[in-house]
């Protein structure tokens, strides 16, 4: 495991400037072609999705429940589509209900939408296929598959009452702005060791009980791949600031969240499945150069990231 980042700050300093500029001049998130989520009005609660007990006891309700089961036990129930040890609920806390943890109720009503990621208008089903391909490092279930029908039903059920096409406060991960002085991987390592290693391990491999993943792997072969949205430091910083450590979200500063997100995303992970001609530089140019702040194809500590691990 590459854990010697002592010289990294020096190496990264010039890069930081580039990243900071990129952050200012381009939209950070490939989904921000849609407007950034508005701030929650003072004193107003986030959208409250319906209660689980209100899932009707009929065929439709059965499909919704199946969707929730898949959402929480993706690897166990749909192993043919999951190539790592991740489950939907790892990034979408509280079964996809928690604000600022990319809640389903703030996503479902925003599709179809154009995505720079694949340069076309995506349906909600295609968006979920992206999750399987990148975040789960697996194989996308067919659009008319039972798995995606159930997950769609679950998202639809949860979004009852949300106006179609209207951006909701709490959508996505509400990314904190890039820190003024940039991020620092070495500082991020110290945050990681203090706040994250307890659950995710010094080696980032997470922790399992028997076959079941409990704390998800953050890098390495069983984590999200180089094409996943979470590989962007800005996106991971948003998730981390709002949701980590588990149950103690919003206790890390924006700076700590950026630093630790950079540390995590400066590790190898499975290759971007869109790899162009087997070439990291070409792939960076096509897919990563304008994709927020990320280290794919960037030389860190003398090693070019984006090699991929199997």
């Amino acid at each position: 495991m590459p854990t010697t980042f002592r010289r990294l700050t020096a190496v990264l300093l010039p890069l930081l400037a580039v990243h900071a500029m990129a952050a200012d001049s381009t939209r950070l998130d490939d989904q921000t072609q849609l407007p950034k989520a508005p701030a929650r009005p003072a004193g107003k609660a986030y959208f409250q999705p319906p209660a689980e007990a209100d899932i009707p006891n009929n065929a439709y309700g059965e499909l919704v429940r199946r969707g929730q089961d898949l959402f929480m036990n993706t690897k166990a129930l749909a192993p043919e589509y999951v190539g790592n040890e991740m489950n939907c609920v790892n990034c979408h806390i509280d079964r996809g209900r928690k604000a600022n943890s990319a809640p389903l109720w703030a996503a479902y009503t925003m599709y179809p939408a154009y995505r720079k990621k694949n340069n076309k208008v995506n349906t909600f089903v295609e968006r979920m296929q992206g999750c399987f391909q990148f975040s789960m490092n697996g194989k996308a279930p067919a659009a008319d598959s039972e798995v995606l029908a159930a997950l769609t039903a679950y998202a639809y059920w949860m979004s009852a009452g949300v106006p179609i096409g209207k951006v909701q406060p709490g959508r996505g991960f509400d990314e904190p702005p890039p820190p003024r002085g940039g991020y620092d991987i070495a500082r991020g390592q110290r945050v990681y060791e203090k706040q994250c290693a307890l659950c995710h391990g010094d080696d980032g491999a997470g922790r399992k009980v028997g076959a079941t993943s409990v704390f998800p792997p953050l890098w390495g072969k069983d984590s999200y791949n180089w094409g996943a949205g979470m590989h962007r430091i800005n996106t991971a910083a948003g998730f981390i600031q709002h949701n980590m450590p588990l149950g103690r979200g919003e206790t890390l500063s924006d700076q700590e969240a950026w630093d630790v997100a950079a540390y995590i995303n400066a590790h190898e992970r499975p290759q971007d499945p869109r790899l162009v001609n087997g070439d990291i530089d070409e792939t960076r140019k096509r897919y990563h150069a304008d994709d927020g702040v990320n280290l794919y194809g960037v030389v860190v500590d003398g090693r070019k990231l984006g090699q991929g691990v199997k």
Binding site: A53, N73, K194, L198, C199, G210, A211, V214, R248
Partner: protein, 247 residues
């Protein structure tokens, strides 16, 4: 305030495992469990934790059988240092020397872990407001994760830092939640006399992960969630570890 950096815990846990193995040879863990330590103040563990190490619900004495050695050793060190207050255990922990502590921890870790029955078919569907709901769904409006998120599916425990909740009695789990929770001072009023604030008597949770959870649980919720884990009971069928436990 109550946070002990995870890094330290982590180092402590991994280093202590090595140390345990080295030190444990010098003392006989099983003998300490049955007859007590060299210092007579270190009473035999089994007199409270049971002949089989499964604890005694009535006294709130926890199960130690099958718990990770590093976890047990850390608890003994925390009793010794006063990070975990308990009038019975503190003097005992203080009376055990390092080799004895290590040996006892290893001996209990070697006993069988709790086995929890697997729900066949679909995952459990808890009712909102129940103990099962807190265990399996949490209360995210108060930033309370479901217990099983850290303590593992069916509360079987995860690694050295998240002990099993399955296999413990309701009395023990309740007492620990209250020990973390503390209670604020209450002025005299219709409900009765003024009460002084009670500080937490357990301050050894890594990164302060438990304290805020316990503080935000109501008394009724503490009882309900403790009863849920106690109610899982112990199965005689071993669990096939190649199978998933559904959440």
């Amino acid at each position: 305030m109550f946070a002990s950096p995870a890094r330290h815990l982590h180092l402590y846990l991994s280093a202590s495992l090595l140390m345990l193995a080295v030190q444990a040879r010098a003392a006989d863990g099983e003998a300490i469990i049955q007859k007590g330590g060299a210092n007579p103040a270190a009473m035999p563990c089994m007199s409270c934790h049971g002949a089989d190490g499964k604890g005694m619900a009535a006294g709130g004495f926890p199960r130690l059988a099958g718990l990770p050695a590093a976890y047990i050793a850390k608890q003994l060190a925390d009793f010794k240092a006063g990070r975990r207050e308990n009038p019975l255990m503190q003097p005992i922990a203080q009376a055990l020397d390092d080799a004895e502590t290590a040996a006892v921890a290893m001996a209990y870790a070697a006993l069988p872990k709790v086995q929890v029955k697997v729900m066949a078919g679909a995952p459990e569907r808890p009712k909102e407001g129940s103990g099962a709901w807190l265990a399996l769904r949490g209360a995210w409006d108060r930033n309370i994760p479901e217990c099983t998120l850290c303590h593992g599916p069916a509360g079987v425990g995860v690694g050295d830092a998240f002990p099993p909740l399955a296999g413990q009695s309701a009395e023990y789990i309740e007492a620990q939640l209250r020990a973390w929770r503390a209670s604020p001072a209450r002025p005299a009023g219709r409900k009765g006399k003024a009460l002084a604030a009670v500080p937490p008597t357990r301050r050894n949770d890594p990164n302060g992960l438990m304290q805020h959870i316990a503080a935000d649980l109501s008394e009724a919720e503490i009882k309900a969630v403790a009863a849920y884990f106690a109610g899982l009971g112990e199965s005689t069928e071993p669990f096939d570890a190649s199978q998933h436990r559904l959440r």
